[in-house]
Amino acid sequence: MINVSNLHKKFGKVTAIEDISFNANKGEIFGLLGPNGAGKTTTLRIIYGLFRASSGKVLVDGIDVNEAALTVQKKLGVLPDGGNLYTRLTARENIRYFGQLQGLDKQQLQNNIERYCEILGMENIIDRKTAGFSQGERMKVALARAIVHDPEYILLDEPTNGLDVVTTRAVRNLLLTLKSEGKCVIFSSHLMHEVNNLCDRVGIISAGKLTAEGSIPNIIERANTEQLEDAFIHFAYPNNTTDEQTL
């Protein structure tokens, strides 16, 4: 389980996130929702050990990420927002590089590359240099690269942004497969229909604070709305819920 408790993060005098707490369990997909600049990426960066929280704790299977970042990172597969590939390397070389850094042996790495190549439908691009790849192709390679070591926890920062229908469906199927394998997935998104289709529970972050957390029916009920999108507006923009121009 990923246990996030009372996370605070300041950059100089600016408070990026304040008192964020939630849990994400194995076998579930947890959605982290929020407007741009709300603090989703900062929260994820603290979870995967790239930023140090000003206060608060992140425990992954009971291990404090501040104390043993590398141990925690072995358990995580992370797709950061805008993380790019090495364009002079082929898709296979990109994935293999990260697999080697994760400490996989040659055979295991080869098997995993073949597996994710098949799941994500990358057979025709796997040995091509990634320069000139479409956004969808880049996303598939980045995703395969992030989870090539079969991690127990998968953190994805806006994975379906700007993808075509086919790639979005491939990503969605992959997330559902991972969930069925008992893995925990946390993903941030703006896309309500994606969240609705995939997430078991969600957390809504607004201006650095977690304004709501729970199952989707529970969130809808607490916002006294009928759809997740309306509930999202209710919790993400608490002072301006009816002004659609804000969106």
């Binding site: 950059f11 960066r45 995967y48 050990g49 790239l50 930023f51 140090r52 590398l70 141990t71 990172q73 072995k74 995580l76 992370v78 797709l79 950061p80 805008g82 993380g83 790019n84 590939l85 090495y86 364009t87 002079r88 390397l89 070389e93 590089y97 990260f98 080697q100 850094l101 994760q102 400490g103 980045a142 690269r145 992030a146």
Partner: protein, 388 residues
């Protein structure tokens, strides 16, 4: 742990060798430097050959036949001065004109001081070298004639020359050759500093700019090892290209017509290997400072701007050594780059190289490389490096 560092080294080397533009630029630099060394030496030889004998226009040669004969014996070809010779010197058609006036004969016979005129353009460097040679020859002939006159009067010529200065040149032919090749150690340093520059910028600032640094840092590998891997890759590529570049320098010195200058350059395989041994710690130092600056830069363009400053680092001690050609001193070994360059001057000069000096300068370079490396890791660890 080591397999992770090796994975980083392999990836960075593969990436660098596939970056055709950067690689060809890195290879082009040593080739150009080698061509420059060969060209400079050949030019010096041609200058020396030109100055050994030259044609001199003389007006009134019939009035000073012994002097003209002396000049001819000394290798100067004498021609009759054309009309308007003085004007032709002014216009540059003629380098030099020696004018012997008619009253030279009378003055010479009467043993009065006879005058002759040397007409040249003092702003013309090449003609001044010839004029200098001519002045020496005439002064020598004048002294010799004066001495003969004193002897006929039973006076020792030594009376006219109370002091005799004998110049003893203790410099070896190799040292003179080294003086001519004084820019070579600086060239070696430039090769070391320039070849890895593009790669370091790409590995650090390029990685930041392409936004591939964040995914890399999320892997379970410490920042220290990532830096170490990139450092190792940078040193490896710099070493490979430097081996080729410095090898080309040795070949061009070997092919250059140094013997025609009467100079000896004994640069063999052992000198080549010793040069590489001395430069290896400098490669660690250069790559380390390049990575530090590059991680500090926000973009590839930023890194290239700062790189210009890094390229100046070897120039300062290099220029100092060009003008100060004494053998390497112990105190120089504690100054990075300078110590190594001073040792390279000794190698080119054919002087023996102190093993202690090599160890001290190598240790100094490696220590500084390590310090810059640690600063580089600190910058890599900054959160700002990820989000800015």
């Amino acid at each position: 742990m080591y397999s992770q560092v090796i994975a980083v080294i392999k990836k960075e080397c593969l990436d660098a060798f596939r970056d055709g533009k950067s690689l060809s630029t890195a290879l082009l630099v040593p080739i150009l430097f080698a061509a420059m060394t060969f060209g400079t030496t050949t030019f010096l030889v041609s200058m020396k050959n030109d100055s050994q004998g030259f044609t001199l226009a003389v007006s009134g040669s019939q009035y000073a036949t012994p002097l003209v004969n002396w000049l001819e014996e000394s290798g100067i070809t004498i021609t009759q001065a054309p009309e308007n010779a003085r004007q032709k010197v002014t216009s540059g058609e003629l380098d030099l004109l020696l004018n012997i006036p008619k009253d030279f004969v009378d003055d010479f016979r009467q043993q009065r001081q006879a005058s002759i005129e040397l007409i040249s353009d003092h702003s013309h460097t090449e003609s001044q070298a010839k004029a200098g040679q001519l002045r020496q020859l005439i002064a020598h002939w004048s002294a010799k004639t004066g001495a003969l006159r004193l002897i006929t009067r039973n006076i020792s010529p030594n009376i006219a020359q109370p002091v005799s200065l004998k110049e003893i040149n203790v410099v070896s032919e190799e040292r003179i050759a080294a003086k001519i090749l004084s820019g070579l150690p600086l060239t070696f340093m430039m090769i070391v500093f320039v070849t890895g520059l593009g790669m370091a910028s790409d590995m650090a600032a390029g990685e930041r700019e392409r936004k591939s640094l964040e995914p890399l840092l999320i892997n379970p590998i410490s920042h220290n090892l990532i830096f170490l891997g990139k450092w190792g890759a940078g040193v490896l590529v710099t070493a490979i290209i430097s081996c080729i570049g410095i090898g080309l320098q040795f070949i061009s010195v070997k092919l250059a017509p140094m013997t025609e200058l009467g100079l000896k350059v004994n640069l063999g395989v052992s000198d080549y290997l010793l040069t590489l041994l001395i430069l290896l710690p400098v490669m660690f130092f250069a790559t380390s400072i390049q990575l530090l600056v590059s991680f500090f830069s926000r973009s590839f363009k930023d890194a290239q701007t700062y790189s210009g400053l890094i390229m100046l680092l070897p120039v300062i001690p290099g220029m100092y050594l060009i003008f100060n050609s004494s053998s390497a001193q112990l105190s120089q070994m504690f100054i990075p780059i300078l110590g190594a360059q001073a040792l390279l001057v000794d190698i080119i000069s054919g002087d023996s190289t102190s093993f202690v000096h090599v160890i001290i300068t190598s240790a100094t370079s490696l220590l500084l490389a390590l310090i810059f490396g640690l600063f580089g890791v600190m910058i890599l660890k900054r959160e700002k490096t990820i989000f800015s």
